[in-house]
Amino acid sequence: MVINDDLKLFDNTFIKELNRETGKKIEYWDIRATYTEGTTIDFTDQKSTEISSYDITNCGIRTFINGGWGFYVLKDISKNKIRSSFLKSIKLARLTESLSKNKFKIKERDPIIGDYKIDCKIKLSNVDIEDKIQLVKNHEKIASNYSNRVKNTRTIYMDAVNNYAFINSFGSQVRQNLSYLRLLNVVYSQKAGVIQRSINSIGGLGGFEITATEKAERLSEKTAKESIKLLDAKSPIGGKFPIIADSKLTGTLIHEALGHACEADLVLSKESVLKGKIGQKVALNDITVVDNPSMGQGKTFGLPYEIFGSYFIDDEGIPSQKTIIIENGILKNYLHNLETSSRMDLTPNGHGRASSSSSKPQVRMGFTYIEPNDWGIDELIEDTKNGILCEDFLYGYTNPTTGNFQFKCKFSYKIENGEKKELMRDVALSGMILEVLNKVSAIGDKNTFGFSSGICGKGSQSVHVSDGGPYIRVEDITVGGLN
């Protein structure tokens, strides 16, 4: 693996030197540093509104003693600058500790030493900017020419190559060479005063080959088609209905309605309704929920790249691994970082993630999903008297303290007497975390399984995540509408 020259300083000798410096002043430290080079291409109505390139460094030095954390962020990665900043970070931790009432320890872990690299068939650095622009132009053209009702199109291409180094006081030494890209397409259509839009994106960890997958190639056509389709959609009728969620909406539902409340930092801060519920039945017997950020899952979906939300190792040097959250209805595990696992006397399960080396790791999800069961899609619809089939989502959020969550669906079809009927737009769904998992009345089979990727925000940090599952039916969901 090619290591950026500036990151070579993060070696064993440097770890030893910093550990000598530390003495008994602090109990744990880690340093993350990244060099990032990236490109953004932003087109609206077939014209470039931004074509940019950047070259950025980030470095964060975190120190800990007895319940107090210090974090020092710098942008200049030289040995001298890191040494002096390390001392400042130690001061911060000690000062924090002296005023903190909540004391705890970080448990020592075995050091991890490894180099990790994303396999790219076509390296981003070998692709000329003209080719990236041509890709965006093609998508803009397809979307604009799709119909004369298309009024406005936007396509954004973003890529980045990350050279990453991590060291900590346990002697861990991780180096990574990461590469990812994302292509996003937005289409607005108009008909007789009605404006509708659709957004789709594709992306993952890998090289430029991501843009040549079938899904990527059809991105703008799909978006244009959807926005036209929505022009004829009706405003929804509010009330309580059984809903059938497609795999993407199931994913969001599980991410919002369960995932966040399982983040152990929120459990410790008493902000989660799932506090104290490990070992208890929180869902129906048929429900098993997993978070698995391990690499290699793109293949299982037939994709030549890694999906967002998967990683080799988290930002605290813990390898990514499959964690069972709910097994047959019983809450088994929370998601942990180094701190929460130390405090709950458990093994960390690799969920300490940060949006960049300038931000501290938080407890975050990776790829969260419900395991499939035995219903087919047609069977599900036929079995539903009066309900709504909801496909894909626009956004979702949850309040882990009250347990109330809500999402906005992209497409919603009325179901009447087992038949899929007219399309509705802007359907909002709401429910309660602890109730909804007990209202699932059918779980689709593995043929209905799918996922989607997106960006999840928490405490002003954003990270890539994926979530998914089979089609499921949930009874008695509150649907918001204009009528």
């Binding site: 609206t44 954390w69 974090f71 903190s100 309660m432």
Partner: protein, 458 residues
């Protein structure tokens, strides 16, 4: 920190290098941003985390004679890297498409407004210990209450310098400070075991204006108001928006809808509504950048254009001049920029943003506003936002209470509502005398009649 780097020298070097490298460029701009921050975090009602950091960087934006744009940025501040990013930006510009709508970058300007108190020099002497002391005020409020079980929160102090320099002669440099404190308190009902939370925050230019005790007390009040939640039946009712609700449903959507970029792309529900009535006579909105000491005030915008006060909506009429422009959208429409170019940092091209968006307060007190409501809802916040293109809203009431016979009663669970924003604006019955300032928003209480509420109770 990094005072050894002469930004002015670096910026003019960048422009000179661009001239040398590509003499036929139309115009270019260098933006330098420098920031330093302190952040203290509170978790489980105890100090847990202190952070110090800085981020200094530079970007170049360059156009050719066909209006094609190139942009590049870095946080490595030296001449060699400046040469590299200028070269990259030129490459990007040459690879882009022509745009006849691009007129020019702003011309040199001499008349910048005078605004007081955007910078507070107490940031120079602020220590970590001082910052922690402010957080201690939050802790005390939580400790002294027997229903409060936990609190998270933070205090942040920010110092920013921005410097814009372009080939048409614009040169503007300014420094500002920003302090913020926030509190999220968790309360538990001792009898029912029910938990809820309440959030409150403050953003100020002056350190002395930061008040942890008030912030946490308000958060605690919100949290308690959100206990004993009930589900209600579907019904049409009057609602009273609290200042936060006013931001969610009136100010924030209007901020997007009057953004000239969205407007020109016809992605705003206010397209075709210029000089027309869009709300009741109680709807009066301006965007004022000139208020001394206000968070949204500034002397110049992200492109170096002087900022000003703009009237947006008067007595419910959306004014012809009520759009917010940067130099690009202004050029496209053939008007002057309103000085609303915004950039989060050196790493972004200028977009469009509000200054201080103000809904003019009315004359009646809040108490009087709710006094005559037999059955209604006090809406404190929603996590949803409307579809700006259509103006349709449907979403969840994250925090809200029933109003029964003029009194604020139980909190709501799983209660949604749906409304077309233009109907909501037209149904504004009154605006309160009291108002609150949250960041760049000035928001009073607003009473709206006849809103569709969707409850979970069958």
């Amino acid at each position: 920190m990094d005072n050894e780097i002469d930004f002015f020298e670096l910026a003019s070097y960048g422009i000179r290098f661009a001239e040398k490298k590509y003499p036929s460029y139309k115009c270019a701009e260098i933006f330098v941003g420098k920031s330093q921050y302190t952040n203290i975090e509170l978790e489980e009602n105890s100090i847990k985390y202190s952070e110090l950091g800085s981020d200094n960087g530079v970007s170049i934006r360059i156009y050719n004679n066909h209006g094609s744009i190139g942009f590049a940025f870095t946080n490595k501040l030296n001449k060699k890297v400046i040469e590299k990013i200028v070269t990259n930006a030129i490459k990007m510009m040459n690879a882009g498409t022509s745009d006849p709508n691009f007129k020019n970058l702003p011309e040199e300007c001499k008349n910048y407004p005078k605004i007081e108190s955007l910078f507070d020099d107490s940031i120079n002497t602020l220590t970590i210990e001082d910052s922690i002391e402010l957080i201690e005020d939050l802790i005390t409020v939580c400790n002294e209450d027997n229903q409060a079980i936990s609190q998270s929160g933070d205090f942040t102090a920010n110092y920013n310098v921005s410097y814009v320099f372009n080939s048409n002669g614009v040169e503007a440099c300014g420094e500002e400070t920003m302090f913020s404190i926030s509190s999220n308190i968790i309360v538990k009902d001792k009898v029912t075991g029910e938990t809820s939370n309440g959030y409150e925050s403050q953003v100020k230019r002056k350190l002395a204006d930061i008040d942890g005790t008030t912030t946490a007390t308000e958060a605690l009040k919100n949290a308690k108001k959100n206990l004993n939640r009930i589900k209600i039946k579907t019904k049409k009712m009057p609602i009273v928006l609290t200042p936060k609700g006013t931001i969610n449903l009136i100010l924030n959507p209007i901020a997007s809808a009057i953004n000239a970029e969205l407007f020109q792309y016809k992605r705003s529900f206010l397209v075709d509504k210029r000089e027309k009535r869009i709300g009741s006579e109680h709807l009066n909105i301006e965007d004022n950048a000139l208020i001394n000491g206000a968070v949204g005030s500034s002397i110049f915008d992200g492109e170096g254009i002087p900022c000003k006060n703009k009237r947006i909506i008067e007595n419910g009429i959306f004014l012809r001049t009520g759009l917010l422009h940067n130099s690009y959208t202004a050029g496209k429409e053939g008007v002057e920029s309103t000085g609303n170019a915004s950039r989060r940092s050196y790493s972004s091209v200028p977009s469009i943003g509000i200054s201080n968006l103000i809904l003019q307060p009315g004359t009646i007190p809040y108490e009087e506003m709710i006094k005559d409501i037999k059955e209604g809802i006090l809406l404190n916040s929603t996590g949803d936002s409307p579809n700006i293109a259509t103006g349709d809203f449907s979403g969840l009431i994250s925090q809200g209470n029933l109003i029964i016979d003029g009194k604020v009663e139980q909190a709501l669970n799983e209660t949604m509502f749906g409304v077309k924003l233009l109907d909501l604006f037209k149904n504004i019955e009154s605006v309160s005398r009291e108002f609150k300032v949250y960041g760049s928003y000035y928001a009073p209480f607003v009473k709206v009649d006849n809103v569709q509420i969707i409850g979970a109770k069958s």
